[in-house]
């Protein structure tokens, strides 16, 4: 069975893929449909959804178009989710690979380092980092990457540890392959599928983290984001609940879709496990 056929067998994954595609389309179409800045005041404040033509989701406390904010927010969420995950992988994969392959004191040292980062409460650390570095897309991406690489390192280490004594790896050592060849050609390719699955789930978590940071007022002040929209509307929740409701749904759908896709990838990449799970 082909990779996609296995993926599509999981109906949830297919739905997730569709939702995700729609959100990506939203991000791409945002500058076309709403070419003006989402920060611009365009109508009187507190319009409820559908109240005035052309403002499907109404306006916020400052008279900004909620629909425009939602579309532009998609771009920011996806960007921060993807880039911070990539950075976390760049930190976590080599660390985990080296710790798992060499073992011994190197492993001890690297794992203490990883444990240290795992002990620190993630979100609190992210807050402190962004607050002190000053909020910007770069500082947010860095902060999220710094708090989310430890699981990657642990996963890769565990995979390397179980594979490094596999007989084919020992055979490679015996025929004289160098350590770097063994790591890159014998072991790493066999750890890719769990890494891919973890990465897809990490994008989801990163999006949640970003929204929580901007909810607390730690978003980049130059870009519109879903978390900011909810945070800004928090004080008027009694009068205008929809201002918080729609961005929340947007976050929920994105994160849900990414999780569904992640599960589908897991099934497709590890067909044996998937059968066991059923």
């Amino acid at each position: 069975m082909s990779f996609f056929a296995r993926f599509a067998q999981n109906r949830g994954a297919l739905i997730g893929l569709i939702i995700l595609t729609m959100i990506i389309l939203m991000a791409i179409l945002a500058p076309l449909l709403y070419p003006e800045s989402p920060w611009r005041m365009v109508q009187r404040p507190f319009l409820s959804p559908m109240e005035v033509d052309g403002f499907v989701l109404g306006t916020d406390t400052m008279g900004r178009d909620v629909a425009a904010g939602l579309m532009h927010g998609a771009w920011v969420s996806l960007l921060i989710g993807l880039v911070s995950t990539a950075v976390a992988l760049i930190i976590g994969v080599p660390l985990g690979a080296i710790a798992g392959y060499y073992g011994g004191l190197i492993d001890d040292g690297l794992m203490r380092f990883t444990e240290f980062f795992q002990t620190i409460p993630n979100f609190a650390l992210a807050i402190v980092l962004v607050a002190i570095m000053q909020p910007s897309v770069t500082s947010i991406v860095l902060a999220i990457a710094i708090v989310s690489w430890p699981p990657v390192a642990r996963l890769v280490r565990a995979e390397f540890m179980s594979l490094r004594h596999r007989e084919y790896v020992e055979a490679a050592r015996l025929v004289g392959q160098t350590n770097s060849t063994i790591i890159l050609r014998q072991i790493l390719p066999n750890t890719l599928s769990p890494i891919i699955v973890l990465a897809s789930l990490m994008v989801a978590t990163a999006i949640l983290l970003e929204s929580a940071l901007s909810f607390l007022g730690l978003g980049d002040p130059n870009v519109m984001s879903w978390g900011y929209m909810i945070g800004a509307a928090r004080t008027v929740i009694r009068q205008a609940w929809w201002l918080s409701f729609f961005p929340g749904i947007a976050i929920l759908l994105t994160v849900l879709a990414l999780n569904l896709v992640g599960e589908g990838l897991d099934d497709a990449l590890n067909p044996k496990l998937a059968r066991q799970r059923q």
Binding site: A171, V175, G176
Partner: protein, 538 residues
């Protein structure tokens, strides 16, 4: 005497769709009488365990009965509800499994796991259950039963766990005991003890035993009657003596002949002693690193091991698990570094080599591994897997790949197979690929670590033949590590017996087998299943 307790009639069990065949077993018919041991024999995939699972009502998901009946004491078990079946399990039919390491709940004390059988069927008070559990542990011959009853599985050895399993299966004195490869995971001496225990208990309780095994040696040891299965069908059925001495079916004959016989190979032509490998006073201790509050643990893996291996010779290292035989092999190929001692190959001391120097020299000694499934990278085409060695030693890619094809031809797989991935091959074929990979660097010495242990007997014989053949053709020397004395007898010129990290005895194959000097060697030889039956079999 033929008072039948279990009667399987025309049983067919269908496998789920997508399996490599439609039926696990097809139209299988055999009986088990009270007080007899019925051995169901077959290689992996023969469906030998499936009928037993159906008897217990423990068929794996997706497998279902499509025809026939299973009459237990006259009643058809296939018509039983899950609840009725449950009342039978443990009470009238007991079962023991292959893996003593995983068959017990790791978080429960041995005594509680036995007492659970009584609880499951509402028998006895909790206090009586514990007392009975203790009595059972005594009966199955566990040392220090008062201690064992409070022990967790991880505190018991493999043999002891299997005894706990047996105690559990016997708790309610079932009329039928199903033993599914109960000794396969055990060392020979432990295997001999467990077989004796089962035979003993069977006679004392006048139980019927359905004994599932792949090993004709075990059959000779324990069976009254034998049922030989192949690809889901019964090929031969009869009394143990008839089947072992005068097998009618060609497949049975092939299986019996494939068992490495105890007949010691004739001493080969005298060779000029030309030592290739000289091992002197090798020591190796494994230490778990201690922590601040944790004492370091030490396990002596090798103690004062010395021997030589001549050019063109095959030396067998024989021992049970924990004897240090594998560590010795791994030291020879320098996957492990000995603590002290010398290991000279052609005069070069391998123990002192490091880094790049080691990488350059180690091609002279190569290894064939045990597990045919773990020894090949699932993402590398087999041709490439073989060529990687020469390429790492600066042979151009094209040339290395061409050479790989030749090697595949040499091990009997054909050059065309180079483009395929490992999962397209069977276990025996993969082992051939592993051998080709070891040969790619033109080594002088090959270390084969349990290289045929994971294979079915018929395949075992083929691989041994291939090794012997290649050895002659390429004038190789072979260090053959195995737990199986019968295999060692078949291929080795000289044999070294190891126990607890030390060499107990070494000598020519003839000396070790026919006139062993040490007690331990004799114990090992006596423990070989089916030994008493040997003359008839050979």
């Amino acid at each position: 005497m033929s008072d039948t307790i279990l009667s399987i009639r025309d049983l067919s069990l269908a496998l789920p769709r997508g399996a490599d065949r439609h039926y696990a077993v097809e139209n299988v018919t055999y009986d088990v009488a009270r007080g007899e041991v019925m051995c169901v024999v077959g290689e992996s995939g023969s469906g030998k365990s499936m009928a037993a699972n159906a008897v217990m009502g423990l068929l794996p998901k997706g497998v279902r009965a499509t025809g026939g009946e299973i009459l237990f004491d006259g009643q058809d078990l296939l018509t039983f509800s899950e609840d009725r079946h449950r009342h039978l399990r443990g009470r009238r039919i007991g079962m023991i499994f292959q893996e003593p390491m995983t068959a017990l709940n790791p978080l429960m004390r041995a005594g509680d796991q036995i007492a659970e059988v009584f609880e499951a069927h509402g028998v006895l008070t909790p206090k009586e259950r514990q007392a009975k559990a203790l009595a059972l542990l005594e009966e199955v011959g566990i040392p220090q039963p008062e201690k064992a009853i409070r022990a967790y599985p991880f505190e018991l050895s493999g043999g002891q766990r299997q005894r706990v399993m047996i105690a559990m299966a016997l708790a309610l004195e079932p009329e039928l005991l199903i033993a599914d490869e109960p000794t396969t995971a055990l060392d020979v001496t432990t295997q001999a003890q467990i077989l004796e225990l089962i035979r003993d208990l069977q006679q004392r309780h006048h139980m019927a035993v359905m004994f599932i095994t792949h090993d004709f040696g075990v059959v000779a040891e324990i069976a009254n009657r034998v049922c030989v299965m192949r690809e889901g069908q019964v090929v031969e059925l009869g009394s143990a003596n008839d089947v072992l001495d005068t097998p009618k079916h060609a497949y049975t004959r092939a299986l019996i002949n494939a068992i490495p016989s105890n007949a010691v190979p004739p001493t080969r032509a005298e060779r000029e002693p030309a030592p290739l490998l000289e091992v002197r006073q090798l020591h190796k201790v494994f230490r778990s690193r201690g922590g601040l509050f944790k004492p370091a643990r030490e396990v002596v893996a090798l103690h004062d091991v010395s021997f030589t291996l001549d050019r063109g010779e095959t030396v067998g290292i024989v021992g049970e698990s924990g004897s240090g035989k594998s560590t010795l092999g791994r030291c020879v190929v320098r996957l492990e570094r000995p603590d002290s001692g010398e290991l000279r190959l052609d005069g070069i001391d391998f123990t002192v080599l490091k880094g790049d120097a080691l990488r350059r020299e180690r091609k002279r000694v190569q290894m064939v591994f045990q597990d045919p499934y773990a020894s090949l990278n699932p993402r590398t085409r087999v041709g490439m897997a073989i060529a990687q060695g020469p390429m790492a030693n600066s042979v151009p890619r094209e040339q290395a790949l061409k050479q790989a094809e030749d090697l595949l031809e040499l091990v009997g797989l054909g050059a065309k197979t180079a483009e395929r991935f490992p999962h397209e091959f069977s276990g025996g074929q993969r082992q051939r690929i592993g051998i080709a990979r070891a040969l790619a660097l033109n080594p002088e010495l090959i270390v084969a670590d349990e290289a045929v242990s994971a294979l079915d007997v018929s395949i075992q014989a083929q691989i041994l033949e291939l090794l012997e053949d290649l050895k002659q053709k390429l004038s190789l020397s072979l260090l053959f590590i195995t737990h199986d004395l019968r295999v060692a007898a078949q291929i080795c010129d000289r044999i070294i017996v190891m126990q607890h990290g030390r060499i107990v005895e070494q000598g020519t194959a003839e000396e070790v087998f026919l006139s062993p000097r040490e007690v331990y060697t004799r114990q090992l030889l006596d423990a070989i299943p089916g030994r008493a039956h040997e003359p008839a079999m050979a």
